[in-house]
């Protein structure tokens, strides 16, 4: 099973750090909230874990994989 970043929407405050760290997977919508465009390619898994750790709202998790 492949890994995917999943947003905890009620917790997300649109800090936007995730999109800065992992633009290959995440971009921001017009209100600044993350759009998870695709699954995390295996090569980017370490970076995805960093995204999870560095989210100021602790609002993103890595599921599956």
């Amino acid at each position: 099973m492949s890994a995917r970043l999943r947003v905890d929407w009620p917790s997300c405050d649109a800090h936007g750090l995730c999109a800065e760290l992992l633009p290959e997977v995440i971009h921001l919508d017009e209100w600044g909230y993350p759009v998870v465009a695709q699954e995390v390619p295996p090569a980017l898994l370490p970076l995805a874990r960093q995204v999870v750790r560095s989210c100021p709202a602790l609002a993103i998790r890595l599921v599956g994989g």
């Binding site: 947003v7 929407w9 909230y33 759009v35 998790r61």
Partner: protein, 422 residues
């Protein structure tokens, strides 16, 4: 009691009971005793003692008739039941019915409270628990009083279950599964992110069998009748009956029980024939008149026309109604019902509602509406943004000619063509 001319497909019933301004037609199984004495003694006299299959049997029977949740998500009940069958399980009956256009759970709980509670009791016993929570709506007080009266009767009769009644907030999203778990846990009655299904980790992380009120009544009926008699009616793999709310936000809402496979036109009032129908309620899908003509009430047929029965709300477009204006009104309502916790929903739904309203007045931008639909779908703790997106998506899909007419300044789907802008 009066006689109704609305056919129910099966069985030909006709007697009507009024429940809080809603006409409830007597039906084949769940609503067979609508209008009769709903007390414990009368209920038991009619149906006999509670039938109690074991876990394996009940799960097999649920699979045999393809029993699915009737709260909207249509999740297979056997899967939920077997997933919850672990230590420290509990049962939650969700009768909160947050959608104002749906009345079937309120009607069912009011006319047959013990049937719903029977289903919960059967489920509790197969799960080896005595803990059952019932969530009732605050804006329909008759439901809570019917439940409390019924529980008191059961306790007097010596039933050894620990019932707890909770009152959901009067909000569209308050009845969502996770919002209900929050309520039971003493927190704010709003949706939160579900990292696991409720049956795996629900209330306090415990296996929680949370289902809609009608689903539990279906379980009771199945436990009593067995799969053969229960499945005597139905369509394909989907056996039995289902509850439908017709015209739920209109002047005369009607709740009726139909066999799966019943033709939709058989339950629609004459004035609705040849008109588009919003199937599945405010989170539902528009179905055009051509598709309505051949549509039957079952999952396979609904899927073919891009719709889902959801919680069974069927809203025919009024004879002078315009689907764009109607959708704009509903989208506006749904935007106001966002709990405001999830950014895409809080920002996206009002923006979407504004754009849909602009479509109705002929000034909107279809591409922008499509973009907003894509931005809200799947991006929230609950299905509120998804449902709203589906409503609007099907508007764009089903009414291209009408969208075009509005763009040119005319509304043609109302009986009389009217100018929508100068």
């Amino acid at each position: 009691m009066t006689t109704s001319s609305i056919g129910t497909g099966w069985p030909a019933a006709g007697q009507v009971t009024s429940v809080g301004g809603v006409d409830v037609l007597r039906g084949g199984v769940l609503l067979a005793d609508a209008g009769a004495d709903a007390s414990w003694v009368a209920h038991r006299r009619r149906l006999g003692p509670l039938h109690q299959p074991d876990l394996t049997t009940l799960a097999d029977w649920c699979r045999a008739v393809d029993l699915r949740g009737r709260g909207g998500a249509a999740f297979p009940f056997a899967t939920k039941l077997t997933a919850a069958a672990r230590r420290r399980a509990l049962v939650v009956v969700n009768a909160s019915e947050g959608e104002p256009a749906s009345h079937k759970d309120a009607a069912l709980v009011t006319v047959a409270p013990h049937l719903v509670l029977d289903g919960a009791a059967v489920a509790a016993r197969v799960l080896g628990t005595t803990e059952v929570h019932v969530v009732v709506p605050s804006e329909r007080p008759g439901v809570g009083s019917a439940v409390r009266t019924a529980i008191a009767e059961r306790q007097r009769a010596g039933e050894r279950l620990r019932w707890r009644v909770h009152q959901a907030q009067a909000a569209f999203v308050a009845g969502q599964a996770r919002a209900v778990i929050e309520l039971i846990g003493g927190r704010e009655n709003l949706p939160v992110t579900a990292w696991a299904p409720e049956a795996v980790a629900g209330h306090r992380g415990r296996p929680t069998l949370l289902s809609n009120a009608e689903t539990f009544a279906q379980v009771a009926a199945l436990a009593r009748l067995g799969p053969a008699a229960y499945g005597r009616v139905g369509q394909g793999a989907e056996r039995g009956t289902t509850l439908v709310t017709l015209d739920g936000d209109g002047a005369h809402p009607t709740v009726l029980e139909v066999a799966f496979g019943t033709a939709l036109v058989d339950v629609l009032p004459d004035r609705a024939l040849g008109r588009p129908v919003l199937v599945g309620g405010y989170h539902g899908a528009w179905v055009g008149p051509q598709d309505v003509a051949g549509l039957t009430i079952d999952r396979a047929a609904m899927t073919e026309v891009g719709a889902r029965l959801g919680a069974g709300v069927v809203l025919p477009l009024a004879s002078d109604g315009c689907p764009l204006t109607r959708t704009a009104e509903i989208a506006g309502y749904l935007a106001g019902q966002s709990a405001g916790r999830c950014g895409p929903c809080r920002n996206g739904l009002p923006a979407l509602a504004t754009e849909v309203a602009a479509l109705a007045t002929g000034t909107g931008d279809v591409a922008r509406v499509g973009e907003l639909v894509g931005l809200v779908a799947g991006r929230g703790a609950c299905a509120h943004p998804d449902g709203t997106a589906q409503l609007v998506r099907t508007l764009l899909l089903r009414f291209p000619a009408e969208l075009d007419a509005h763009r040119r300044g005319w509304c043609s789907l109302g009986r009389v063509a009217t100018r929508v802008r100068p």
